[in-house]
């Protein structure tokens, strides 16, 4: 479902080698043309509205698997490879990158890493950042560099992979990424339970978190969100289990005893459907707070936002749809008071021009980020304005 490119560009380029990419960046740098690096364009709607860029740099020709060492559980792939295709390859050896970014069928590895894009599995396996062990990239002044390496444990020099993962292509264009892998779990299963209210959901989640159970993901659907996914109209908690066969069975039975309205989820595609963003709503918000504040934030959201709400209670994240601008400000204020943040993940461009998409609240952090950008992209040609 790749949308039409939601930004305006003068030209599209598709470099075929690092040399070509470096030449392109240098030339753009010399005459101050701005660049948007992109994979398949699944996340171009993220970030601030920018009137126009000069060049869209498609990384799709960088789609090779560079090295795969199943015995070491490491893989190195070029940034334009599709995330799902890499996963397919790894699956042949019973391995995977433990992450479930949205749009994984279109998204490229570079795009997923550059946006540190994740799904509910982040709860059990950490952000995709944690799986990255090395990178190669071309910076805003044309410098080609590498960060990290190809072994699973490495503290040589600064771990710049942490900086680049989630930098939205504003510090450099990723050409190659190395990951550490995990064996695929022996068994996986999703169970669900229904509740009368969000506080009851939160109670159940707290109980699970204080128990020996090791779910890898927790997703909550509001009654309307459950209904539109073909489920009963009720607050629904999905619990994803991934373990040995015995471990999954034991956890399932423990949950059956604890949770009201317990049921097995109808097939794995329900899980997929929970990760897709709902395209019927023009505006998607992503609010994140410390887990303890979830119920309070949810109460605020219920008052204001549209009724279809999806949350990841294990990591303190809520996706909601906002009807209008003043509501965003109000909700953001609430999230920030709770020690969290709220960003506008998608919105029509006209809308975006009137709102601060990210909502940075820590001025000192922002200052450091701007200085980092100035050092690695001195002329501010990489994705200027998208982040700040």
């Amino acid at each position: 479902m790749v949308q039409t490119i939601p930004i305006r560009v003068k030209e599209v380029r598709e470099p075929r080698s690092v040399q070509e990419l470096q030449d392109l960046v240098r030339a753009a740098c010399a005459d101050r043309r701005t660049l948007v690096p992109t994979g398949q364009g699944t996340k171009l709607h993220w970030g601030n509205a920018v009137p126009e860029f000069d060049l869209l740099v498609k990384m799709t020709a960088f789609d090779a698997v560079v090295e795969y060492h199943p015995a070491d559980l490491t893989v190195t792939v070029q940034a334009g490879a599709r995330f799902s295709e890499v996963q397919e390859l790894l699956k042949e050896n019973g391995q995977w990158i433990p992450a479930d970014p949205p749009y994984s069928h279109q998204a490229t590895v570079g795009g997923v890493v550059a946006c540190n894009s994740d799904g509910p599995l982040r709860f059990g396996y950490g952000p995709v950042r944690d799986s990255v062990i090395g990178m190669r990239l071309v910076h805003g002044d044309g410098t080609v560099s590498k960060a990290g390496g190809k072994v699973v444990k490495n503290v040589a020099g600064y771990d710049l992979c942490k900086l680049y993962a989630g930098s939205f292509g504003t510090l450099g264009i990723l050409t190659e990424i190395s990951f550490k892998l995990r064996p695929l779990p022996e068994a996986t299963e999703t169970v669900l339970a229904t509740f009368g209210s969000f506080p009851e959901v939160y109670e159940a989640v707290s109980r699970i978190l204080r128990s020996p159970l090791l779910p890898v993901a927790l997703v909550h659907l509001s009654p309307e969100a459950a209904l539109s996914r073909g489920l009963q109209q009720a607050h629904t908690l999905l619990v994803r289990l991934a373990e040995t066969a015995e471990g999954v069975a034991w956890q399932r039975e423990a949950l059956r005893a604890w949770l009201p309205g317990f049921d097995l989820a109808p097939g794995d595609d329900l899980w997929e459907r929970c990760m897709e963003r709902d395209e019927r709503f023009p505006v998607t918000l992503r609010a994140s707070v410390p887990v303890k504040e979830l119920a309070a934030l949810y109460a605020e959201l219920e008052q204001i936002a549209e009724s279809e709400i999806v949350s990841h209670p294990g990591t303190g994240r809520i996706y909601a749809h906002a009807p209008a601008l003043p509501e965003v400000r109000e909700l953001r204020g609430a999230a920030q008071r709770m020690g969290g943040s709220l960003m506008v993940e998608r919105a029509p461009e006209g809308w975006k021009r009137n709102v601060d998409v990210w909502g940075f609240s820590n001025a000192a952090e922002l200052e450091l980020m701007r200085t980092l950008k100035a050092r690695l992209d001195p002329h501010h040609i990489l994705n200027p304005g998208r982040l700040f």
Partner: protein, 487 residues
């Protein structure tokens, strides 16, 4: 030393907390890497971020180098005051500030000892996962600076995977808060970047740490072998079978002997050439079957003995031998040089004998005790520190081992950091461009270069031994020059 400076420092931290007696400085002349020594000019013991901010401003105003020091157990000379200057000994900042179980985190000051974090939350069913073998002494500030790992890194990752937020003091005395209790951050991941910066970005004054639930079941066993190769092959086979143990550690003959001769005697079989310590943790259901598979793989590789810990005491004993192995080696020789290279884990069986051969070739005894599961080696080269000729041979062996590991696709350090010790090995794995980018990043946090100078970056031929921070001029494409300090 400058009397005025001492007076000003005393005004900031209090009379008792500035040490300037040259005799006292020797306590601070080195960290766990005793090969390099240099006493600082002054030691200050601050109690608050505000005091640190003032100290930093004072030091920078006078172009004096400064660095933070935790327990001084570092193994790469990270806390070495290369240029003399000021050491901020963090000992007074050792409080656990908040235990927040609902959010599964704790907030601590930097000089809290690693193990004390776990001790404080164990009664509530949680622990702090990073477990360097030095965890009874090393501090959270040091762990964060080095991105320390430990035996359980194999399954649970290193320190960086368990830090949510940091309060830091940066150049100019800026007090900055990075990250927080919410697991999502906006923009660049500054916390992730700061962890592992080896004390060269600034000084950590507070940390929010993620807690992990205590696993329902733990199963620890020991397998003994009559060759290192067979033990190494078992490691590869376990990983190859798709099993992620919580820990997978190896000790070789010399280490076993040292441990068994010490007060930490763990009952390791003395006649074994190598033992593996394997630990599974997590859900009880299914663990027995995994354990049986591992035992089968051990047998398949001709393990001479397999012993399963039947009680908590037995388990702790098996681990005590591992965690105290460094200490026990002190019995073998006065000097100990711990290497920390990493190799792709499948190359263990091939490279282990080669490493031992290199040491033997230089007439140096080597005892191996290491994180086999993730390929993080620790050949311990034993020497007599009084004998300069022996030290030379050790250094030669170290360099050759490093080359071997790098050629195999590895890294020069897995957890101890580059520090002062390995900075001239950096060009083995990083190009001048890679280092230039790191230098630019450092300059954002530490533009004066006075915070822990002469670490990580290779010695510049031009500045030689002078020890003075030097600037590199970096030309932007439009001909403008930007200046960056590189140390």
């Amino acid at each position: 030393m400058d009397r005025q400076l001492i007076r000003q420092l005393k005004q900031i931290v209090g009379e008792r907390y500035v040490l300037s007696d040259p005799a006292e400085m020797y306590v601070y002349e080195c960290d766990g890497l005793t090969l390099h020594r240099k006493p600082p000019s002054l030691v200050v013991l601050p109690e608050t971020a505000q005091q640190i901010s003032e100290i930093v401003q004072l030091a920078e105003g006078r172009s004096i180098a400064y660095l933070a020091r935790g327990a001084g157990t570092g193994l790469s000379g990270g806390a070495l005051a290369v240029q003399g200057g000021l050491i901020l000994q963090m000992s007074r900042m050792n409080r656990i500030l908040e235990i927040d179980l609902d959010n599964r985190c704790v907030t601590v000051e930097p000089c809290v000892v690693n193990l004390d974090v776990s001790k404080a939350v164990l009664p509530h069913g949680f622990y702090f996962a990073p477990d360097p073998s030095s965890q009874m002494a090393s501090t959270i500030g040091g762990n964060i600076a080095e991105n320390s790992g430990g035996p359980h890194t194999l399954k649970y990752g290193t320190t960086v995977n368990h830090v949510l937020g940091l309060d830091v003091v940066l150049s100019g005395g800026r007090i900055v808060q990075l990250g927080g209790k919410s697991s999502d951050r906006l923009g660049y991941d500054l916390v992730g970047l700061f962890v592992g910066s080896e004390g060269t970005f600034g000084i950590v004054t507070k940390a929010i740490l993620r807690l992990s639930p205590i696993p329902q079941k733990v199963k620890t066993f020991l397998a003994a072998y009559s060759s290192v190769r067979e033990a190494s092959q078992t490691v590869s086979d376990i990983i190859g079978a798709g099993i992620v143990p919580a820990a997978l550690e190896m000790l070789d003959r010399l280490t076993i002997q040292a441990v068994e001769d010490s007060v930490y005697a763990a009952g390791y079989p003395r006649d074994a050439e190598a033992v593996l310590l394997v630990e599974l943790d997590g859900l009880e259901a299914g663990m027995e079957r995994l354990a049986e598979r591992i035992v089968a793989l051990c047998r398949q590789n001709a393990a001479t003995e397999i012993r399963i810990a039947r009680s908590n005491e037995e388990r702790e004993k098996l681990w005590a031998g591992r965690k105290k192995a460094f200490g026990a080696m002190g019995r073998l020789m006065p000097g100990l040089y711990v290497q920390d290279a990493v190799i792709p884990r499948s190359s263990l069986p091939e490279l282990m004998p080669k490493i031992n051969a290199i040491a033997a070739g230089h007439g140096i005894a080597v005892a191996n005790v290491f994180h086999a599961g993730d390929g993080n080696l620790h050949p311990n080269l034993l020497y007599d520190g009084q004998d300069p000729e022996q030290i030379q041979r050790v250094l030669q062996a170290v360099e050759e081992i490093m080359k071997l590991c790098v050629d195999a696709g590895g890294s020069i350090t897995g957890e101890h950091g580059v520090g002062f010790e390995k900075k001239d090995f950096m060009p083995m794995i990083f190009s001048p461009e890679d280092l230039d980018i790191m230098g630019r990043v450092k300059s954002v946090f530490n533009p004066t270069g006075l915070c822990n100078p002469q670490k990580i970056f290779p010695t510049s031929k031009s500045c030689g031994e002078s020890g003075i921070p030097y600037k590199i001029q970096y030309k932007t494409l439009d001909g403008k020059t930007e200046e960056i300090f590189r140390i």
